[in-house]
Amino acid sequence: MSIQQPVLELKNVDIGYNDALVNNVIARVLPGEIIAVLGPSGIGKTTLIRTIAGLVEPLQGEVTLQTNKKGGLGYIPQRLGLVRHASVRHNVNLGAKASIGFSKTMFEERRNRVEEAVKALGIEDKLKEPVRRLSGGQLRRVATARALAQRPQLLLADEFLSELDHQNVEVVIEAVQQLLKDGTSIIMVEHHIENVQLFATRIWIIKDNQLHDYSLKEWEQSLEEEE
């Protein structure tokens, strides 16, 4: 049996801006895992995601990304990071651009990826629409489509299911299944327990400046015990 290489490894990492919010994080993420990061507001969930994305330097320790292809890391921040004055097509195409290099067939390949992604998210009729005209739920679909077109090995998503009604959550989760089939791992910050149960395979809880790593089963058991 071959041992799976982790896509992400955190070794004794201290996370924060000036003072550490989370100390001595030791964790690894294997291909295909879906990790939900839980904890109260201001505890350091977003900072953890930003540190993994390379946007914040860790105060101490080592963050090793083993994404070995172009555009291997996908990111959906809380504010979604969409180009508001550009069209839906332009925004989704950014994801494809990040992962497809210059080649003879790149334009066709990008177009195919964009079309597949918007179809999966049900926004194919909005392709030419400027992003600024879309509703909150539609914006989240566009950000997800961008990640889908990118096909990253590790996707970092900060509350990308929030503000979505139940029906939209199902559409987004169904679309993301395609990424999971390709072996993408996901680390997502999430507040809604029902979304976590629907989707996650492992749980990271930040509590008392420490990151606690649970399997979904262990976490559900702890919830039952608390009740």
């Binding site: 890391l73 990111y75 004055h85 332009h90 994801g95 651009k97 990040a98």
Partner: protein, 294 residues
């Protein structure tokens, strides 16, 4: 708090007054100044001499429409051409340099040298650039184009990198995390996101260059300024006034054009599509559909 502001503004005004008083050694000069101006305008400038819109005696006009051979038309067209080409070249040059000078796009050690380059190009006024290029390549519109291009790069470059630095950080962070290259980020994220501001700055610069075309013409760098200098030398102020009115009208038209162009870029920003333009578009669509039906 409001009282504090009022005191601060009043103190600044008082300081300005003291500085002005220090600069002016003889206030008596203001006496009768207005009368001098009225006499000068009435006797030398008014009414404007519209012969500047008649064909010149030499070279012989071969065009059916006399206006196209006039000093006013030829000079203005040359100024507009110089302004257009130099604005375009300057805009492209500024785009390349400003993206390397914005602190949120590149590290400080890259941004600083490019900021110095832009500051250096901007610190020489276009008139000095024009003198330099007239010395290097001689009189004519090419010297004007080069002078204005250099000034435009410095001026627009600063406006552009300040616009980039004020844009929302989330889309830049996404492109950085996704691994998009610097040119890709600039072309696909920064320019589309700040497009309305860039367009507005471009139109402002074009208008500025048209107005400044008159100044650089004075040193022989082509355009309507050349004719203004000639008329000034021969004390034909009525003709100068006519040319200044033409420049004013062109500036107003550019302003309207800017309003129209920017209205196509955004539908929720600072510019709404003018009512007359909406009416024209409606009419044009109506005509299109009726001709299709026929």
């Amino acid at each position: 708090m409001r009282g504090g502001w009022i005191i601060a503004v009043l103190s600044l005004l008082l300081l300005a007054w003291f500085v002005l008083n220090d600069l002016v050694d003889d206030w008596g000069r203001l006496e009768g100044g207005m009368d001098n101006l009225v006499i000068f305008v009435e006797e030398s400038m008014w009414p404007p001499n519209w012969s500047v819109l008649e064909a010149q005696s030499y070279p012989v006009c071969e065009n059916d429409i006399e206006l196209f051979c006039s000093v006013g038309y030829l000079g203005m067209m040359e100024t507009i051409k110089i302004a257009f080409v130099s604005t375009m070249l300057g805009f492209i040059g500024a785009l390349c340099l400003s993206s390397l000078a914005a602190r949120n796009l590149v590290p400080l050690y890259v941004a600083l040298p490019f900021r110095f380059i832009l500051a250096a190009t901007r610190s020489l006024p276009s008139l000095i650039w024009a003198i330099l290029f007239v010395i290097v390549i001689g009189f004519g519109p090419l010297a004007g184009v080069l002078a204005m291009t250099f000034y435009t790069i410095g001026y627009l470059g600063k406006l552009q990198y300040e616009t980039y630095e004020g844009m929302p950080s989330d889309c830049l962070e996404v492109s950085r995390a996704m691994g998009l290259s610097h040119p890709s980020t600039v072309v696909s994220v920064v320019i589309p996101e700040t497009g309305n501001h860039l367009l507005s700055q471009l139109m402002f610069m074009f208008e500025y260059n048209v107005r400044h075309g008159t100044v650089i013409g004075i040193v022989g760098a082509g355009g309507i300024g050349y004719y203004i200098t000639t008329y000034l030398k021969f004390l034909q102020y009525d003709k100068v006034l006519a040319l200044l009115i033409i420049i004013f009208l062109v500036v107003v038209v550019i302003d309207l054009l800017s309003l129209m162009i920017r209205s196509f870029v955004t539908d929720e920003g600072d510019v709404r599509r003018p009512t007359w333009l909406k009416g024209m578009i409606k009419l044009w669509k109506k005509r299109g559909s009726s001709s299709d039906a026929e």
